[in-house]
């Protein structure tokens, strides 16, 4: 074996992935070539160092428990598809092709969502019940709230822990804003409820935050990449502004 080949095989040798014959040739080469032997020594030293340094980061305590809880609540298995007779398959194929073409064209049109500040205020008011705000997944742990939406929505909602700033996370629910599928993440500041709506849009809202007051409710709207956001609350406008700044902080 020559040095060029030995260097190419060095890592596989260290990793014990060579066949017996090649490994034997390697042993022979390393015994006679000081240069390759030195490189081999570095590899072995590095492995020893990496394994001795306990760099492995095990799962935090309680993670397994919260995953099991999550699975039992939301992890329904995907139902296997019913097998179709050939003519059913043909008919279904034809109709989905047409629908797909129409749907594809429709989705490709960037549509502006008009009057959304009014829409989100209406949704905000509708969510307030005497028993408290309407919530689908109630939790103050963002690690429980976010995964709940997986499979229910086509985008991942942004859920932040803002308890340090005085805004307590209460949970979230699936929403609709106009014709858009949306999420509302619910926070509480003292006795005031804050709903943060988000939906996927072609940039309905300009990047910088805008403020409005509608029927006594304050609304702040902004967009971030492909999501549009609207925060609504009856708290005073300075507090809502403080909230949106905290929520948007990188």
């Amino acid at each position: 074996m020559n040095c060029a080949l030995a260097l190419r095989m060095l890592d596989a040798y260290v990793d014990d992935e060579l066949d017996a014959t090649t490994a034997a040739e390697m042993v022979e080469h390393l015994a006679t070539c000081a240069g390759c032997a030195a490189l081999h020594g570095q590899r072995v030293a590095m492995r020893t160092a990496l394994r001795a340094a306990s760099l492995r980061e095990a799962a935090p305590k309680g993670l397994k428990k919260s995953i099991l809880r999550e699975i039992e609540r939301a992890g329904a298995p995907e139902t296997p598809r019913r097998t179709l007779r050939w003519w059913q398959a043909l008919a279904l194929g034809a109709s989905t092709a047409v629908m797909g073409a129409i749907g594809g064209w429709w989705l490709a049109q960037p549509r502006l969502l008009e009057g959304y500040p009014e829409l989100v205020v209406a949704r905000h008011v509708a969510s307030l019940t005497p028993a408290g705000p309407r919530i689908d997944v109630a939790s103050s742990d963002r690690h429980e709230v976010r995964p709940w939406f997986q499979g229910r929505l086509e985008f991942a909602p942004m859920v932040r822990d803002l308890s340090a700033q005085g805004f307590d996370l209460m949970g979230a629910r699936v929403e609709r804003v106009g014709d858009r599928q949306a999420v509302a993440v619910v926070y509480r500041l003292h006795n005031h409820i804050i709903n943060v709506f988000s939906w996927r849009g072609p940039g309905d809202v300009a990047g910088a935050a805008k403020e409005a007051t509608i029927r006594g409710f304050h609304v702040v709207t902004w967009s971030d990449r492909d999501l549009d956001f609207a925060a609504v609350s009856d708290t005073d406008s300075a507090e809502l502004k403080r909230f949106t700044e905290a929520y948007r902080a990188p």
């Binding site: 160092a49 001795a52 935090p60 298995p77 997986q150």
Partner: protein, 181 residues
Amino acid sequence: LADRQRTIRFEEEILVHLDAAHNLARWITRDAGMAKDAVQDGCLRAFRAFDRMHGPNARAWFLAVIRNTCIDLLREQRTHATDEEYDDDVHGAEASPESDGALTPEDIVARASDAHWLHGCIDALPREYREVVVLRELEELSYKEISAIVDIPIGTVMSRLSRGRDLLQKRMLLAHKVSRR
């Protein structure tokens, strides 16, 4: 009842590898909070796809799901900000072993007793090398398993490991030189 049994099977076959999953997620995302999110999302994905799991190696299958979840999260989170992948042509070139004697095995062992420093050296590797190094050195997986998880041929596993270790060695040497100054 079937659901209950399914959950128990999932716990026994998949969740026993939770530490490995978390470790991989931590090293790919380089962020504790994001790693936790990725593991949670990934477990949910794995549970939903559990019936379609094939092959005898549940650990490799699970780690592949976790890895994909991490990469989706990273993509989702990557803003307009500049990509911070380490570029060894820029950072590492002048520190090649040829240009500055050689790092002896003793040097490596001596420096590496500082786990924090070593941690930083690995974190500085570009993701494609970081993940194979972690799977091989920390999870002690075979080339065949790594090939299945990262979805690359075995030959590529070998060349990435080789390159990854070269970069790591350069990185160690660079830090070593700086500390001697």
